[in-house]
């Protein structure tokens, strides 16, 4: 490959790269579910971006360009490893799932923010299990959304699908995630003294 970068190139690249690394790491962590794999993924994406830096159009969205590389790398790794979801795939969830479930258990009376209450008592491992219950492409879109606070169009650019696909995956994915979180939260540490009412017992 013909990629002799000048000092100036390297500095320009790093000036763009370094500010996006923390969010890239957070995204990679939730995608890979491992700190080591997340570090490797971000480093690999950084090097690949560096080698392709001559194809980046100055003045366009560097973060979107870089994340596209990161997502593609992640997809390639998944293909090689054939990751299996840790828990059974989910059926569709109704709107405002956490809202209705926490309402049914009576959490609304005593708590101003019942969703937060559920999330705060969950461990990292539980959060990880809940996320992995989502289909891979839903995980990608949801994690990009929650970690980065992006417009749908930006996510579409990163993932390489039309904006309408992002919208529908995000809407469905967020519902699935709420359902999954609720089930995981209850199956491992039942919200004690609360009557739980969700269909289907966890395996």
């Amino acid at each position: 490959m013909q990629n002799r970068h000048t000092q100036v190139d390297t500095e320009a690249f790093e000036a763009l790269l370094l500010p996006v690394l923390p969010k890239a790491y957070g995204t990679a962590y939730h995608l890979t579910h491992s700190r080591d794999d997340a570090e490797d993924l971000v480093q690999e994406a950084s090097l690949q971006a560096y080698r392709a830096f001559h194809t980046f159009q100055p003045g366009t969205n560097f973060k979107a360009w870089f994340f596209k590389i990161l997502i593609n790398l992640f997809r390639n790794h998944c293909r090689k490893r054939k990751r299996e979801p840790e828990i059974a795939p989910l059926d569709d969830a109704p709107d405002l799932y956490l809202y209705s479930q926490t309402a049914q258990t009576g959490l609304h009376k005593d708590h101003d923010n019942p969703a937060e209450l559920v999330l705060e008592q969950m461990t990292e491992a539980q959060i990880r299990r809940a996320i992995t219950a989502l289909p891979n492409e839903y995980q990608i879109v949801c994690i990009l959304y929650f970690i980065n606070e992006l417009a749908y169009q930006e996510i579409a650019d990163m993932v390489g699908v039309p904006v309408g696909t992002v919208r529908s995956r995000l809407h469905r994915g967020r519902k699935l995630l709420q359902k999954s979180l609720w089930h995981v939260a209850n199956e491992e540490t039942p919200l004690s003294n609360l009557k739980l009412s969700y269909e289907g017992t966890p395996a």
């Binding site: 970068h5 957070g26 480093q43 560096y50 999330l119 705060e120 929650f146 749908y152 919208r167």
Partner: protein, 81 residues
Amino acid sequence: MNPDERRYTCEETFRRLEDYVDRELSAEEMERVREHLKTCEGCAHEFHFHEQTLQSLRNRLQRIAMPPALLSRITQAIRQE
């Protein structure tokens, strides 16, 4: 234009709540949802909880800090290219 003609029903509002939270509606739709939420307690309550839930999820998932050593590892690797 008579604003009453353009008023959303609860159902029309609910269908747009997620895009409203994400500011992904047209300016006109944003305005119509905003108008509905001002006058409808039920929808306003649902909107509040939806927004709160998404924000809680965001806070929980964003709590992952990048290891400081990763930065120097990457800049070193770049300079070795």
